[in-house]
């Protein structure tokens, strides 16, 4: 594991080496694969450390690597407004139990993005204040961005409910 010339990655490796599973900087994007149990601690360090200062959780999404174990990967894209640098943090999530700790306490922007990931991938964010579907409706069955969800599958039409 090396820092690939990224100051933030270097700081992270020095401070929490046991939490980092792999690093790379392919195509210029500094990336750290971290232990899912320590993901909140890693993110908190990256937000609060004076050399990292990632005040912004720009994006949070998931990828389904069907056939691999662990199956899912949750991807956090961080950006520092003051330092103008970026870092990608990833954590693998197993199919069962399909859950990871929430980042809502660190950045409120995680709230809706985690709801979206729950909606489309069925990854449960433990500790999330209001984990309900964001884009789809409550009666929708399944999580459509999973690779084993067929694109053509139809869902029953439900009427409006107030």
């Amino acid at each position: 594991m090396e820092d690939h010339g990224s100051a933030a990655l270097g700081r992270l490796l020095a401070a929490m080496p046991e939490a980092i599973q792999a690093t790379h900087a392919d195509l210029g994007d500094a990336t750290a694969l971290v232990d899912p149990a320590a993901v909140v601690e890693v993110l908190r360090f990256l937000r609060d450390d004076a050399d990292c200062e990632f005040e912004m959780l720009t994006d949070l999404c998931a990828v389904d690597y069907l056939g691999e174990t662990p199956r899912f990967e949750v991807v956090y894209h961080l950006y520092s407004v003051t330092k103008n640098h970026r870092l990608r943090v990833k954590a693998r999530v197993a199919e069962d139990p399909c859950e990871i700790a929430t980042a809502c306490d660190l950045w409120p922007s995680a709230n809706w993005m985690e709801r979206e990931v729950w909606d489309l991938y069925g990854i449960r964010f433990t500790g999330h204040p209001e984990l309900k579907r964001l884009l789809l409706y409550e009666d929708f069955e399944g999580h459509p961005l999973r690779k084993d969800y067929p694109k053509e599958r139809r869902q029953p039409l439900v009427g409006p409910r107030n």
Binding site: D26, L27, D59, V75, N84, S109, L134, L135, N162
Partner: protein, 415 residues
Amino acid sequence: MSSEPTFLTERPREGPEDDLERDLHTEHQILNMGPSHPATHGTVKFTVELDGETVVDLDVAVGYLHRGFEKECEAGTWYQAIPYTDRLNYNSSILSNLGYCMAVEKLLGLETPERCQWLRVMSSELSRVADHLTRCGAACLEMQAMTPFIYGIEARELVWDLCEMLCGARLTSNYIRIGGVKHGMPKDFARTARANIATIRTLLADFDKVVTRNRIFVDRLKGTGILSKEECIRYAVTGPLLRAAGVPLDVRKAEPYLVYDQIDFDVPIGEVGDNYDRYLVCVEEMHQSLRIVEQCLERLEDLGDGPVNVDDPRVRWPAKGRVFNHMEELIQQFKAVTEGPRVPAGEGYLAIESANGELGFYLVSDGSAVPWKVRCRPPSLINLAPLPLMVRGALLADIIPTFDFVNMIGGECDR
């Protein structure tokens, strides 16, 4: 006769002053607004908790325009996703095209020709003008003013005329290609563009006269929908909303892509982050974008005619004349159309400054001709999330201008 009955003198005086002090029994009321409300441009449902006319809380329900953009992208080739990106932010489709194509180019390791880069900058700035015109014009319309809306839409028509000249389509442009653009600049384009820009400036001046110092607009925009600098950053709000709060963050300046580092333009910022600042920032950004377009026109005229696509066999389509007469080119064309480029395995995130803020694409490829994952970071959705913060404690009517200047575009927000 005795004096007046005692109950009359002892009865407390009832005047309007006393009414104001009296504690009346009130209860909070839940009001459903939307999903198809005439004063919101965008399909979104608000559940508003009201105390009289004051907003106590607001719940935003999005997703009414969800079409499974990411799922569809994972089913086609890398090329077939480009028309879907048109339908993300349909006011500025070229910007969405650009974000996606540049992310694919990042995975492919392609460097586009200089002429193409200037064309891309020019077309994306035209899109930005169209988007801001829609935002400001529609905001006026939803505050019951027809005239500025018509000025804005007239100017937007002129922008779309230019888009039509460039790529044949007004709304869903499908202009940017992986490794290039669809066409170079047509013959009369520079002349028409200069004439249209002059007219757009006149219309913007008219718009300014009707709106900027108009008492009704100033009263409805100033001090409403405030979101502080710190809250913006905590909520990852970007674009004109963040700049109106006083943070000069613009991806075009912070991480210059294409040829933005060679272009002279300013990034306007506001002071308090209310709707009025957002309006002023958007108007100034339109002027800056027109400045950029003029610089691009000048540079493109200097560069003259030439290739606008990268000469890389993975993404290049052979010339039509050769396809009809040569076996090699015929096979290449067939492979390019049916299969498209194979993108090396890996992951990449690329952000551009769209009209609403940072538009990012996070792509994962497994090395095949079909994307494994196409994640669009939608600025509309992320900017909309702190809406309850902006309107809590405000009047019900303040939701309308605040929502207008957040500029939630259903296609991009719900994907």
